[in-house]
Symmetry: C2
Subunit: 121 residues, 2 copies
């Protein structure tokens, strides 16, 4: 059992939209990501997804309802099947909580797609 310091973990990588695996439990994963700019529109058919902002401001856009803007210390659960697009005007550090096998771009195959996440030591 090793604890994880979130800020040290975020400081250990630079890439945007490339989630790292920081912990696993009950088939779910804690993933950490840096983000800047607009991500691709996508949905996760079988997975609800939690976004918790560590630093910066993350806007999550939806097709049919108003966007939700998350500041540091705020989280949102995006239910399965809801198309969404994360947007960060400036760099954001965010924690994701979702099933370990959930793909970052969901149903969409894109340049940003990551399937084999690096683990944070």
């Amino acid at each position: 059992m090793e604890k994880v310091n979130l800020q040290d973990a975020f400081d250990s990588f630079d890439e945007h939209w490339s989630p790292r695996l920081a912990g696993e439990l009950n088939g779910q994963a804690v993933k950490l990501a840096r983000a800047e700019g607009e991500f691709v529109w996508h949905e996760h058919e079988d997975a609800d997804e939690l976004f918790l902002v560590q630093s910066g401001v993350l806007r999550i856009e939806f097709r049919e309802e108003p966007a939700v803007t998350l500041q540091s210390g705020e989280f949102l659960v995006v239910p399965r099947g809801v198309e969404h697009r994360p947007v960060a005007e400036e760099e954001v550090e965010m924690l994701l909580f979702e099933p370990t096998e959930t793909r970052n771009t969901g149903d969409v195959e894109a340049e940003e797609t990551e399937t084999d996440l690096e683990r944070i030591d």
Copy 2:
């Protein structure tokens, strides 16, 4: 979809060792708890449990290995079947992530046992 501000959510209750339900996804729950003092020794037979400290210092003791001390912004996953005791010398605010039905005192029936968690609005 409603976002949750963690600090506002913690500020909405005072009780110790009485987790509130702040969000649910994929059969798992985000639970928020205030803690002070020593909790009961217990284990969760079928559930891994994540502790993330928001404020204060949480020591998690184990029967057969050294305790782990979590500061603000640090998390630990306690695997299923590992007996543990959370201890807070001073008040702690912590986020728990675990299956929704996981009981706070696990296999132990105690005064502190809570089964029907209040939901944070």
